[in-house]
């Protein structure tokens, strides 16, 4: 794989992951558990859409075929999307949304802190901005995990169930393929294997403070690096892309 091709796919992977997570989170806007929290989560959603936009815009530039961020977001099929599987999972209840967010925020902060040192100036720039945002996202999601774990029996049960549901999608966050190999050599991409120890440590500490334990199961789903997703992504895209696809020549 050429350097350019790898950089394109890498940017898509990061952009798609932000985009699909944001699309999922945006389902909460106007339907949150109470007003203040509705607004708080929407701020996080806005940051994620913003990051997706920057990354897809860059992907388009790298590809060099004149595709804009919108063409990439709205005119690719599910097999051409590289978002991590964890992001397309249904929101479930607020506990599941929060624990998924905590797992991703924890990963993202480690990841983007490293990417901020990338030799690719654009990715480094996007990462530097993102680190500030994610630091706050993580503070938000972690504090809610602790609230749920120490709140009521019901909240603790829901948190536990939510965590069990998303756990098997967390392993994929650390998967690497030829894309990573090419880019790590150039000092562009982050070696994901270096993040895992810290991530596992932080998450198990978080679970501890919420009176939960790491699950025993070690089976992890995989596929998104190759563009293989669950059934849900097709539905997300069908909805998200409907308008531009119905009017392909229109500008909005």
């Amino acid at each position: 794989m050429t350097l350019n091709e790898s950089l394109f796919k890498y940017s898509l992977r990061l952009g798609d992951t932000s985009l699909i997570l944001a699309q999922r989170l945006s389902e909460w806007t106007g339907h949150g558990p109470f007003l203040e929290e509705d607004l708080a989560l929407t701020n996080i959603t806005l940051d994620l859409f913003g990051r997706a936009k920057s990354l897809l815009e860059y992907a388009g530039k790298v590809e060099g075929k004149g595709r804009t961020e919108d063409q990439l977001a709205f005119f690719r099929t599910d097999r051409e999307f590289f978002n991590a599987l964890i992001t397309e999972q249904a929101n479930g209840d607020y506990a599941k949304t929060i624990i998924r967010q905590a797992c991703i925020d924890c990963f993202d902060l480690l990841f983007y802190s490293e990417l901020a040192k990338s030799k690719d100036n654009t990715l480094a720039g996007i990462a530097q901005k993102s680190v500030k945002e994610i630091t706050y996202h993580k503070r938000h999601s972690f504090s809610w995990v602790i609230r749920f774990g120490n709140g009521t029996d019901e909240s603790k049960q829901r948190l536990k169930k939510g965590f069990e549901e998303i756990w098997e999608y967390t392993g994929e966050l650390f998967e690497m393929n030829a894309v990573d190999e090419v880019l790590i050599k150039e000092g562009i991409a982050v070696d994901l294997s270096t993040l895992k120890t810290n991530w596992t440590k932080e998450i198990s500490e978080l679970l501890q403070s919420a009176h939960l334990t790491m699950p025993e199961g070690t089976y992890m789903h995989t596929g998104s690096r190759k563009g293989l997703h669950g059934e849900q992504l097709g539905l997300i895209l069908a909805e998200m892309q409907s308008l531009p696809r119905m009017h392909p020549e229109a500008k909005w």
Partner: protein, 95 residues
């Protein structure tokens, strides 16, 4: 008053370093950390501030309207507290 939405808080925002913290509104939150985060998410969405205070509303002590006369009117005739009360001769420079 029982409220399942959590206690009420007062939010103060400092616009720029060095400036006073100014009251900007209220919110509901169930604990201090949440109050601070909610204040950030609600009242600084447009870059309105550099620093925040949140205070439980029931910690605020306020003067009542009946106090108005006895509290504030006595200050009105203390004009000697203001610099314009005094005459300074010309030619001594700024004072």
């Amino acid at each position: 008053m029982s409220d399942s939405q959590g206690p009420l808080w007062e939010v103060f925002v400092q616009k720029k370093s060095g400036q006073p913290f100014v009251h900007c509104g209220n919110l509901h939150a169930y604990d201090k950390e949440m109050a601070l985060q909610n204040a950030r998410d609600l009242y600084t969405r447009r870059g309105e501030g550099m620093a925040l205070w949140v205070v439980p509303s029931d910690a605020i002590v306020s003067s009542s309207p009946e106090d108005m006369g006895s509290f504030f009117e006595p200050a009105n005739d203390k004009i000697f507290r203001h610099p314009t009360f005094y005459q300074i001769p010309d030619g001594v420079g700024h004072m």
